[in-house]
């Protein structure tokens, strides 16, 4: 009788363990901050890339239906891949693209813009990376889509590719 209970217990234990491991293996092991964190985009004041003047986000996040805040750097290879999508997005009048240049040398960043084009309405410098942490960024590149109320509608971790680009267009189209 005792052996019977023991067998049932062992079987249940193995089935339970199997499902726990199965579930665990299906989960992405890489943590992302995609669905966590702040809702309202913080109003930071940063240095303008071209004029070196201090500009706050409140001054530049005006007159747009949507804003795409993109963290980029010339040393970041995936930023080169996503640049073509930002350039395409620039043609869309519903969205304004703001760049945050993360820990970069100005001369290198300028070369990057000369080579790939400048899709940004404004570029702000984040020389020590503090601003990127204040807005809850996870890496470079990273993009935040904000609505008119400056609320974060979508956070895109990593480079924008074809799939993510379509998602961005859908968000802009749907909420227009």
């Amino acid at each position: 009788m005792k052996n019977k209970y023991l067998k049932i217990f062992i079987i249940i234990f193995f089935i339970f363990s199997f499902f726990i491991f199965y579930y665990g293996l299906k989960q992405k092991d890489l943590y992302t901050t995609e669905n966590s964190g702040i809702q309202k985009f913080p109003n930071l004041t940063l240095q303008d890339f071209f004029t070196n003047k201090q500009i706050s986000f409140e001054d530049i996040l005006i007159d747009g239906n949507y804003y795409l805040v993109n963290i980029w750097a010339s040393w970041c290879l995936p930023c080169r891949d996503e640049h073509i999508y930002l350039t395409q997005l620039k043609k869309n009048s519903s969205v304004k693209i703001i760049g945050i240049n993360y820990k970069d040398k100005k001369s290198n960043a300028e070369k990057f813009l000369d080579e790939f084009g400048n899709p940004y309405e404004y570029i702000l410098n984040d020389k020590d990376g503090i601003a990127s942490i204040e807005i809850g960024a996870y890496g470079v590149p990273e993009s935040f889509i904000l609505n008119r109320q400056k609320e974060i509608v979508k956070k895109i971790i990593g480079p924008i590719d074809q799939k993510k680009f379509k998602k961005v267009l859908k968000i802009i189209k749907n909420e227009n």
């Binding site: 966590s36 964190g37 503090i130 990127s132």
Partner: protein, 123 residues
């Protein structure tokens, strides 16, 4: 005499500022050791030298200098990145099993041993 008094005051002031500096540094290191690096996720930002870890260290330093408490700094990072960012997560409904399960297993083991011994004694 006056010079001696001035020197004494200066020395006292220096020792106080050094003490507060070392206290700030201790707190900064403590917080840095409890914050997870965003890039190399198995390391704390104290151990990591990635760009984002360095930026996080600067944010911690800045917040301490602004007079924020340890708890305030943790809650700032928790709002930005979620509970995951802390190496020492707080007890809550989502992780209660993780905290309680080892204790329950330990207790269950103890009960099994006691019952077994009880059975043996009776025999």
């Amino acid at each position: 005499m006056k010079i001696k008094i001035i020197l004494l005051v200066i020395l006292v002031l220096i020792s106080f500022s050094k003490r507060s500096f070392s206290n700030d540094l201790k707190l900064e290191n403590k917080i840095n050791k409890n914050l997870r690096c965003l890039i190399c996720q198995g390391q704390s930002i104290y151990d990591s030298q990635s760009d984002f870890a360095e930026s996080m260290k600067l944010v911690v330093k800045q917040k301490i200098e602004a007079g924020m408490s340890e708890e305030d700094i943790y809650s700032f990072f928790k709002i930005q990145y979620g509970e995951w960012i802390l190496y020492d997560p707080q007890f809550n409904i989502k992780n209660f099993a993780l905290w309680l399960l080892p204790i329950l297993i330990f207790l269950a083991g103890g009960i099994i041993i006691i019952v077994k011994f009880g059975v043996l004694k009776k025999r």
